[in-house]
């Protein structure tokens, strides 16, 4: 019920108490809940390096050439958060076709931030997941979320 | 967890990337 900016400042202090990175059945490592989280609660910021959109292609090619998995999240038409080499634990959040979290871009003190929110109450020990909403493409990436309503492919 | 990814740096908040003068260049003289 507090204003978004105030909630965000509190999040920066307390995010590490709520979430942690552990082995995931979905894919390698994932983001997990360390205490019960309420529906609508701010969970963690998807923090990283803020880069201009035009630089994403070049970075993607570089990461691919090094065999590094790419972790980017679009803020808006102009900017992207690149958490590949510098980021918060949110970069480990896995996709699910039945997610328990969603993302939102919020503005605090004139700066934009991508924040992960809980869609519903989440119990301690649950993996936090989010719907990546990849654009549809011809070359399909299989989905390993294992949910009942799995769409089979990420894209 | 950051120990699992070499050269990875954990951040508490966003960092604005400082572009180099040659950031966009494919090739320089």
């Amino acid at each position: 019920e507090l204003p978004m900016a105030m909630r965000f400042r509190k999040l920066q202090e307390h995010a590490k108490e709520a979430v942690g990175v552990y082995r995931s059945k979905i894919h390698g490592r994932g983001l997990f809940c360390k205490r019960n989280i309420d529906a609508g609660e701010m969970v963690i910021e998807y923090a990283g390096e803020i880069i201009r959109s035009l630089l994403t292609d070049k970075r993607e090619k570089y990461y691919e050439s090094k065999g590094i998995g790419c972790y980017m999240f679009r803020i808006d038409d102009c900017e992207v958060v690149d958490a590949t080499m510098h980021g918060s634990a949110a970069r480990f959040i896995n996709h699910s076709c039945e997610p328990n979290c969603y993302s939102k871009v919020i503005q605090v003190d004139g700066r934009k931030h991508i924040v992960i929110f809980a869609m519903r109450p989440i119990k301690k020990g649950e993996e936090l997941t989010y719907d990546y909403k990849f654009p549809i493409e011809d070359v399909k990436i299989p989905c390993t979320c294992g949910s009942k309503r799995c769409r089979k492919y990420l894209n | 967890w950051s120990a699992f990814a070499p050269d990875f740096k954990e951040l508490d908040e966003n960092v604005e990337y400082d572009e180099r003068e040659s950031e966009f260049d494919l090739e320089d003289e």
């Binding site: - | 003068e21 950031e23 966009f24 090739e27 320089d28 003289e29």
Partner: protein, 118 residues
């Protein structure tokens, strides 16, 4: 009157009230003039008011499709001359153009000769 364009530019650039001076900071981005040319021979001059190390400029000619969130000379739509080393750029390839570059206080001239379209 040809001036720096209010709208045909990257929004983060600071334009003076008289639209004759532009100031940039951080990464490269572009501003174009209020008017373009189609054919014939055209020339314009620029004075570098302020450009301390390690900042740099790339100035030249651009078509309307040239990307504004990149330096002039980034894609196939623009051509530029860089202050550092005096390199010329097109499609993000830098070629040697002259020895040394230009700096604060210099007056630069840019000429283009375009054929009459068929």
């Amino acid at each position: 009157q040809v001036l720096l364009s209010m709208h045909d530019r990257a929004p983060q650039l600071k334009l003076s009230d008289d639209r004759l001076t532009v100031t940039g900071e951080k990464g490269y981005s572009m501003i174009r003039a209020s008017h373009g040319v189609v054919s014939g021979q055209w020339f314009y001059e620029v004075t570098i008011d302020e450009m301390q190390e390690p900042t740099a400029t790339r100035i030249g000619w651009s078509q309307s499709l040239g990307n504004l969130q990149a330096p002039c000379g980034y894609d196939k739509f623009s051509y530029s001359w860089r202050s550092r080393k005096g390199t010329r750029f097109h499609q993000s390839h830098g070629y040697h153009y002259c020895d040394g570059g230009y700096g604060e206080g210099d007056v630069l001239g840019f000429f283009v000769s375009l054929p009459v379209p068929a």
